[in-house]
Subunit: 357 residues, 2 copies
């Protein structure tokens, strides 16, 4: 119980840096002596000191004899921005280390635990392991696969409609669900939409309803013919709008977009799609994009789902039946899903599905 | 906290009689003295002693000086099967009475509380009032409206399909959701389906997956042309199969059904429907049917929803997208719904919606 209480606090601390440390993991750490909390720390942003270093530095000489809690295995490798934590922990006289997850990073993966134990420090692992893995699902995916964790997010009626009429934007969900979407945007490195969504809905795809930072906004515009007056081409942070298009499109238009600060990337087709999904995901991985939120519309949802190129599906349900209109998914897909969590969000519900392993 | 703990226990006791006391309410009662539980009782079946009487009888002389907990206001009226509880409580020397809900029965409705207070007994009301009202939602509805509480229950895919192909039965949900439906059947007085559902799915509409009692099974067979080999016409309790049909149908067929033990009722049309929904609900009220579960199919769902003749909607969602097939609801309806509860049931989810007041 004591271990779980402190580990939950590590998760809380870690979450403070949501959206700021990618592709690094979210990490919180704290020092406890004789049941008293001595210090706390968290990894605040990409490149800043690790959570353990923060907690140790804050405690100073008091670190000696403390238990150190940390949701992720402390690092032992040196090929990165910050000095490794394991020597720091050993040097500080820490008595015991309690962690949630091993670091799946091939450079660590048990090595940190081994070195701590070799130095005579007791290590307890696996505290709230599932919660720890969920907290860092983006990192765990990215560090092993080198492509982003992909979530498809659908807001629909109970009869699966995302709009009441083809070509017309329909507000489906209420303010609580919208706020939740902005929370998602704040936590994902990038969001992605198809060109129809930009053309019809003209979304901003930024974070407004909560305090947070904007994700990269990706639009798939195969033939590069979206009107340039769309909001995502006229944002305050144009470098965060990335247009993914096919090869051999209008060079003048590309120059115009680039001149406005927008970034344009040309992709090979994969046969079924003018822009290959696998090419996209590989490219995003190379850009250190560890998480991607697919925001619509039906064609784009269907592409990612039917190609089984996703890890999670979030469905917001508004208690409406349109009977007519456009459904979110245009063809059946084979992937077996299981419900992961459900909750009421104001006048709507939110269900998270993951793939059955 | 003490009050809530004991009231929760009253709810537990009350629930033991689920399906057995309708149209009476589910009631549990217990006696407590100096923090010690003295006795417990519940209303076991229609016509049997009330919960308070059970608890008082069990405690005997020990009742004097006790607190009596009961989820519903004790009765003071005499026009019913059992003697009124209020005189019994007063005569037993009870010191204090703690209840959840006032009895909305016009014959009681505060009268019991008044008489207790006049006798010098302290009465505390409103403990876990919402839970109490939910426990007895059928009773609360029936006693004031004299028609059954109507729940529409849909099992569908995430794109709102109840079958992958018109005219073909498709298993949608898993065993946990099916078990939950049998629990519902055990708690509702009657279930109702359209003739297409009987023709295509040939359901038994009984309680098999849990221990319980079968509800009345109603089939709307407007033109009275369902094949007589269907399972609901050949059950072990044929008197529980009720066929609702229009006027002037084949008299010989009616006789055949009646000879097999099935009950047949002829209804007036209401213009839109061969069998008028309002006529049905009024008739069921007259039969003391306090709760009705609509189990399908699309035409029947749509009838009750678009006529706003329902109180609750339950949607079981299987994490599938069929893309084609039949949707549960064939036309939009105006009633504003709000989510009431959500949970994961094995591989599916269950969401309960109620009407916005």
């Amino acid at each position: 119980m004591e271990h779980e209480k402190y580990m939950r606090r590590c998760f809380e601390l870690a979450r403070r840096a949501t959206g700021l440390v990618s592709p690094n993991p979210l990490v919180g750490s704290l020092l406890v002596k004789d049941g008293n909390l001595i210090s706390e720390g968290w990894h605040r942003e990409f490149g800043s000191p690790h959570a353990e270093a923060e907690a140790l530095n804050q405690a100073g000489a008091e670190s000696a004899g403390c238990d150190l809690y940390c949701n992720l295995e402390p690092c032992s490798h040196t090929n990165k921005k910050t000095p490794p934590c394991v020597p720091h922990i050993i040097g500080s006289g820490i008595k015991r280390v309690v962690i949630s997850n091993r670091d799946p990073n091939p450079d660590v993966n048990g090595e940190g635990i081994l070195k701590l134990r070799e130095a005579g420090i007791e290590v307890i692992e696996g505290i709230l392991e599932d919660e720890g893995r969920e907290l860092n699902k983006f990192f765990f995916h990215f560090i092993t696969k080198r492509t982003p964790y992909v979530t498809v997010k659908i807001a629909q009626t109970l009869d699966g409609k995302i709009t009441s009429c083809e070509g017309k934007q329909t507000r489906i969900t209420g303010v609580d669900a919208l706020r939740d979407v902005h929370k998602l945007r704040n936590s994902y490195d990038a969001v992605l939409v198809g060109s129809k969504t930009v053309s019809i809905d003209d979304p901003q795809l930024n974070v407004r309803r909560i305090n947070g930072r904007n994700p990269i906004r990706i639009v798939l515009d195969c033939e590069l013919n979206l009107p340039l007056d769309r909001k995502i081409f006229n944002s305050r942070d144009p470098e965060k709008t990335w247009v993914f298009t096919g090869k051999n499109n209008d060079a003048e238009r590309i120059e115009k977009l680039k001149a406005s600060g927008v970034r344009v990337f040309e992709f090979d087709s994969d046969g079924a799609n003018c822009i290959g999904i696998c090419h996209i995901l590989k490219f995003l991985g190379e850009q250190n994009i560890a998480s991607l939120l697919i925001e619509g519309g039906a064609g784009t949802f269907t592409k990612f789902l039917s190609a089984n190129q996703f890890d999670e599906l979030i469905v917001y349900h508004a208690p409406l039946f349109f009977a007519r209109g456009v459904t979110a998914i245009l063809e059946p897909f084979e992937t077996v899903l299981k419900p992961w969590s459900v909750r009421i969000l104001g006048k709507d519900t939110k269900t998270v599905f993951k793939k059955e392993n």
